[in-house]
Point group: C2
Chain length 606, copies 2
Amino acid sequence: MRDPVFTGTAMAYQPFHAHRPVEFPVSAFLSAAQPSFFPALTLPPGSLGKPIAEQAFAAAAEAGLNTLGHHQQAAHLRSLKGFESAEEEAEDDPKVTLEAKELWDQFHKIGTEMVITKSGRRMFPPFKVRINGLDKKAKYILLMDIMAADDCRYKFHNSRWMVAGKADPEMPKRMYIHPDSPASGEQWMAKPVTFHKLKLTNNMSDKHGFTILNSMHKYQPRFHIVRANDILKLPYCTFRTYVFPETEFIAVTAYQNDKITQLKIDNNPFAKGFRDTGNGRREKRKQLTLAPLRAFADPDGGESDASSCDPGAAGDSPAGSGTTRSQRDARTHTDSDQEPDHLENPSVRPSSPGPRSPPSGPRSVGGANPSKKGDPGNPSDLTQQKDQSDSRCRNRVDHRTLGSTEGGSYPVLLQMDSPSHLSTAHLQALALSSLPGQSLYGPQPLFLPPGQLAVTPGGLSAMGMGQLLASVSGVTGLGGSALSGGPCGFPWQLSQGIPLPALGALFSHPYAYMAAPLSRSPLLGAARSCLHYSPYPVPGALCQGAGTLARTVPASRDTSPVAPPTPERHTVTYRGKALPKDPINELQSIQKLVSGLEGQRSASPK
Amino acid sequence: MRDPVFTGTAMAYQPFHAHRPVEFPVSAFLSAAQPSFFPALTLPPGSLGKPIAEQAFAAAAEAGLNTLGHHQQAAHLRSLKGFESAEEEAEDDPKVTLEAKELWDQFHKIGTEMVITKSGRRMFPPFKVRINGLDKKAKYILLMDIMAADDCRYKFHNSRWMVAGKADPEMPKRMYIHPDSPASGEQWMAKPVTFHKLKLTNNMSDKHGFTILNSMHKYQPRFHIVRANDILKLPYCTFRTYVFPETEFIAVTAYQNDKITQLKIDNNPFAKGFRDTGNGRREKRKQLTLAPLRAFADPDGGESDASSCDPGAAGDSPAGSGTTRSQRDARTHTDSDQEPDHLENPSVRPSSPGPRSPPSGPRSVGGANPSKKGDPGNPSDLTQQKDQSDSRCRNRVDHRTLGSTEGGSYPVLLQMDSPSHLSTAHLQALALSSLPGQSLYGPQPLFLPPGQLAVTPGGLSAMGMGQLLASVSGVTGLGGSALSGGPCGFPWQLSQGIPLPALGALFSHPYAYMAAPLSRSPLLGAARSCLHYSPYPVPGALCQGAGTLARTVPASRDTSPVAPPTPERHTVTYRGKALPKDPINELQSIQKLVSGLEGQRSASPK
DNA sequence: TAACTTGACACCTAAGTGTTAATG
DNA sequence: GCCATTAACACTTAGGTGTCAAGT
């Protein structure tokens, strides 16, 4: 497992195409391994990749200008890139590669934790993917969201994670739109796509558009590719969803597993201050002047081995202000002495030391109806939970088709046609994002004027889409109270850095998965193009997305779409506050709320 | 002149509209004085304002969805904002306000200097405008460029600026497209638009897309509003150009005037380390540990008054590592004692002290044909140069209609229809920007593959636009050598953070001005909409833009378009390298260059 | 020489880290 | 006492300042 090669990429997901076997020759793959098609390419540091390029050609076409046909140009590019020459441009078949997979794997084996804070916290490792196989000229919207991985609440006890009850209700999840969206496939493929602007928080009333998670819950990030040149078309387009199981994590407010802490410290440049040298001695940096002060501030931990492994270095006091450092040391130094301390390319520690002691079974700690039946145990045992669907705490992500995590996992692909149940609140969200604001510079806050929000539902019903409102599965109260769809569907908010806190601008998203790295339905060809304005039937209840999915993406091989979680409704109390049960009523609540706010707002335009 | 109110905005430019007098009622102006329409609005710090909102509605319209008509929604917004209720949406009439005008004025009175470095330097004060009067739903492209203010080279001698010869040849100027472009008027108006990503450099072979300036030359930033939803349409659209005379500056590699240095230090947060307290005593910060080291590093200046005005503060050593500090102190402390030291809102020093000594006349220093005749003198005397058009070193910006700078200056508006001479190289530039790359994160550099660039000229000529090529007025060689159109037109490069260094993707831009803050031609109404593909005659030579301009925007009141600088051709030698004289030949050079590169490129796709 | 340019540098802002102690 | 949360803090990266000595 010791893989020092840490230069970035990992395995690419390459679906097998029986009907179009030559569309993705290996040459394309080789280029994908390059950091860029043009090694010499330079990009201004802060430039916005925006639609300029794409627009230029689109406009040229619109204007009847032949700025040298796309094919000609594409051929040109192709020859420059060393691409194959028979690739057609019209079709696409995206291959997505998780960057820094090795690092993700390391975390995953231990049990990844992500800190969530009130002010928002980035993910580490960063969620970063490399994409290939897009239509260079087509426009795509790239999205990311984070879904609950199961119905459990966890606790870290005796050095291992264990189930601590049923999951707390989820806040409406936000669908994070990559800020460069929409952009051409060419732009997306030019360099890895990062989502480091997506921040995690546990602040229920977050106004920044961050993703709100529950602490001590397990989550699974997802990545979506939508071929669409416009955000509004999203509800009518095919979502290609990619799940990298190794990016699963448990949200925490403070790190529980010291191994995770150490892994973060060793790999996150911002935590370099807490880093040890890999040579068995602590790294001592320019903490000369402050060292005495810090040594003075060593109250709690009596661990004196903080200097025990500090043999030969310069006469500085040991680095780091941590007092729990020795804990990490004791555990880490078992196998870290032989690795030099690379900076951004740190050596990777083998994950040989398994969980220390697997003692007691699941224990109910969080007060929520504990009806424990199975113990997911250590999150790193993900691949061992294959037949756990009967467990009380069942995964919402079907990983049954995944190979051994050690050998490299496949991303799980879900392809959905027109998830129509997204439509309504989706459009609401889009209406929200039609606000001003939206500029790059300065941390100027933006609250949404509720009055403006009210217009869109009205517009929807006016156009005969009122029934779509029934698909809204969640609502966010103005004061931060919220509910979730329960174990069923998740309410989603669109978010491109745009906070959508004041209204239930949500849309449910089927989270059923088709784990089909090698399967491909003939229907997918048709699904490849976005379906605009398709008059899809509106599901009257939540969690019907899987049906739509199954119709669009029939299962094949050993992968069948996960049965949609039963749409069981349950009364949700969130932090002692009972939340509405009926989505219809919830929606009406929204509307009433909006109307009231609208009245207030126009009354006092201040 | 003492204006402690420094909360942001300054005077707004409000053109007088005889034919539409009520379009911009005062209420809109009042809201413009607010930092934001919604004080409670929050925007995520790093969010990209991009086209999401606009696209949503555009797509809705396209889809036949009535997401509540624009008017209805606009009315909604209007009532919320306290806007007038009779404003029509279809028309626009932008009002542009320079932010931090007071600060700009302070600099301008002294004679603003901007440092240019090889690695690129921001402007300070930042160029930041607030916009009103746009069509909320229409899309706009906002641009900025920096043009030479006159034909002079300057030197700072005896504490004042004086002409030191004829201007050096200019590098092709880059038209900086605001990265959020295109965006809706609503988005642009929501918050001030900053151009801090525009960086100044003196590096001729800059690859970052920075604006290349000549040191010791005077420049005038310009701001452009173009109603267009696509970059490619730019050449066919009306440019509304706004010039704020107080933003004029002289580019320097090191500050010449200590007063400017002090003003920068006092106002730029990044220079806080060199700041004094406003109480007549130096500010001493946490430089305790390093103070002895720094005192040791005080070699040159024997100025001992560094501690002379350090009466009562805590027992720290004086701040700042500078040795010339005392110089600034001596000059600054004459009028700075009464002002507290606000942080980001520093108090403003009265600019009472005039130039110390206006001694010798213009002197030739730079080697370029010095034929001195008039001395612009201190740049702060801009408003006194009204009838200087006969001067050898004449302004290229007509400021004759400007009121006293002290009373607040008007921005100068130029409105151009379809500057067709931009078209060719403009399209070239656009073709350039159709490359991949273009992403937000990471400082990955981008060089343009020349092979791809070649396609566009061919496409142009194929569509009967070959003659437009004659309008190209400049060329950038591959090795960084360049030429300019001389004192006449400027070649421009489009730049949205996209470097266009490798090819002569330039387009000339008429710099004739209509200084018409109070004038309005009836033709302007028609000019308000973008003219697409209009078959404008192609000027066969450089510097004919003013004719086109005059036709489109007739002068009125006391403001007549500045007579275009005589299209005198002169041989340009740049750093000892003779540059071509004939624009046609220059273009052919480009084409040859491109062809050659294309051949090379396709031959060796590596 | 004098004027101008350059790069290393100390100092700053801004924001991403884990640590720590206090809190509930 | 345990567990989970939180804010202050020291440390980091990244990059924007003017200063200064040396170069052109």
